[in-house]
Subunit: 244 residues, 2 copies
């Protein structure tokens, strides 16, 4: 369902983005960052993959490319048969909202919206902005699943870190996506709550959803069936998880 | 050095903060949140304490009170001999910037500032805004310690999640504080990088600094000498760490 061929992502940082300090301090300044240096991967439908690797190794960059939130500098990315490079921004946005649920490393919640409104945000990108009865029920069900049924009217700054993370998790599932991309989805959760979230993801995978999650924790990675390790923008390991 | 007596924190959420939804959906709406329900604790100089507990149990709330970033609803908090309730906002801010280094759960970096400028931010709250030669060297040393010497001119949106977390860690140490309050300081770091950070904190504790850290990870908690567990706004456990 996903095929990446020699994917690269380079950030070009000109003097402008470095500010006045660039002039003063020569040498040691990095003006281009090769975040992804040629990644080739295939994921089949229904896979459950964990991506691990050092901080800064390119995991989020790769996940953003997978989720069509960013375009590669070079290389090919085929998603569900579409060559992503051939799609314009609107088509990309369409594919994304229909098939992919994304849990961001920094949540990306809207500060002015309540928990309910944040969970429903992906629905507003489709259709006419009216939230159906069924969508309302689905929202309540997801809020309950992540343990936030008693925080529905709170806004993000009225929630704990782990509660904000759980809003991001619920939001990623509202469109019933085929593919779930999770970037450190349990980083701010205690073990009991993490277990509940991993258990929920496990059921979604059993039901046929493809799950690709970035995690630093070996205990969380073991829920996956396949573990990929990254280092300095490339894949250095790719094999079955210990539980297989 | 720290004494909290029957500390409570209650958030009052009126109809205003709930928006129009409050009117429609009765029952089940929480209009007051008792985040801290009577906490009494003492920390001596040089202690190394880990605070654990479920998401939403009140850990960050307690840490914010400890760090004088918020005032309790009731109860007493004595810090270094001062009754915090008797200090006005300016005096509180003074005590805070001189004695406490805070690593926030959501980093609180300034998006427009570079890594260097973010690390130096606490210095600008004291003195005349001129960064001394010594402070510049200290900044470079801290950046190197957390592995960001090659990211000095990046801004937060040009950094990975774990790199942003490391900026927050470096910033907390720039004023050489007596007390370090860390809220999930390694949540976005891989094990190798976490180990380096914990090793650095261990040295600081050996040098006499008091460290109070919130963490969800038992492996990280074991670096501490004392472990406190919270549940629903109260302390349910308080004892020596397994390594003692
Ligand atoms: N401004 C606020 N208004 C209303 N409720 C709040 C506010 N801030 C926090 N809360 C509530 O207070 C409770 C405790 O929050 P706190 O941030 O201390 O939890 P925590 O233990 O740090 O959780 P986590 O492990 O998820 O970070 C939570 O249930 C949260 O919803
Ligand atoms: N907009 C940008 N401009 C310049 N460099 C960037 C930008 N975004 C990311 N980087 C760099 O690209 C590299 C990879 O970043 P990425 O966010 O993919 O890392 P990561 O593996 O997710 O790390 P972490 O585990 O800390 O979240 C990092 O070294 C980072 O500094
Ligand atoms: Mg990342
Ligand atoms: Mg917290």
């Amino acid at each position: 369902v996903v095929r990446m061929t020699d994917l690269r992502k380079t950030y070009f940082m000109g003097h402008g983005s470095g500010g006045g300090l660039f002039g003063k301090r020569g040498g040691g300044e990095v003006l281009t960052v090769h975040a992804l240096r040629g990644v080739s991967l295939e994921f089949r439908e229904g896979e459950y993959v964990a991506i691990m690797g050092q901080s800064g190794s390119g995991k989020s960059t790769m996940l953003n490319l997978l989720g069509c939130l960013d375009r590669p500098t070079s290389g090919e990315y085929i998603l569900g048969g579409y060559d992503v490079a051939q799609l314009d921004d609107d088509e990309l946005s369409e594919v994304r909202s229909r098939s992919i649920g994304f849990i961001f490393q920094s949540y990306n919640l809207i500060q002015q919206y309540t928990v309910t409104e944040n969970i429903q945000l992906p629905l507003t990108y489709q259709g006419n902005g009216i939230i159906s009865e069924e969508a309302q029920e689905r929202t309540m069900e997801l809020a309950r699943l992540v343990g936030l049924h008693d925080r529905l009217d709170h806004r993000p700054n009225q929630l704990s870190g782990g509660q904000q993370q759980r809003v991001a998790i619920a939001r990623s599932l509202i469109n019933d996506p085929y593919i779930i991309l999770a970037d450190e989805a349990t980083g701010n959760l205690d073990s009991a709550t993490s277990y509940e979230i991993m258990s929920m993801l496990g059921k979604l995978n059993d039901a046929g959803k493809t799950i690709i999650m970035v995690t630093h924790e070996p205990d969380i990675a073991e829920y996956a069936k396949r573990i990929i390790r990254m280092k300095d923008g490339v894949i250095v390991e790719d094999g079955p998880s210990p539980r297989m």
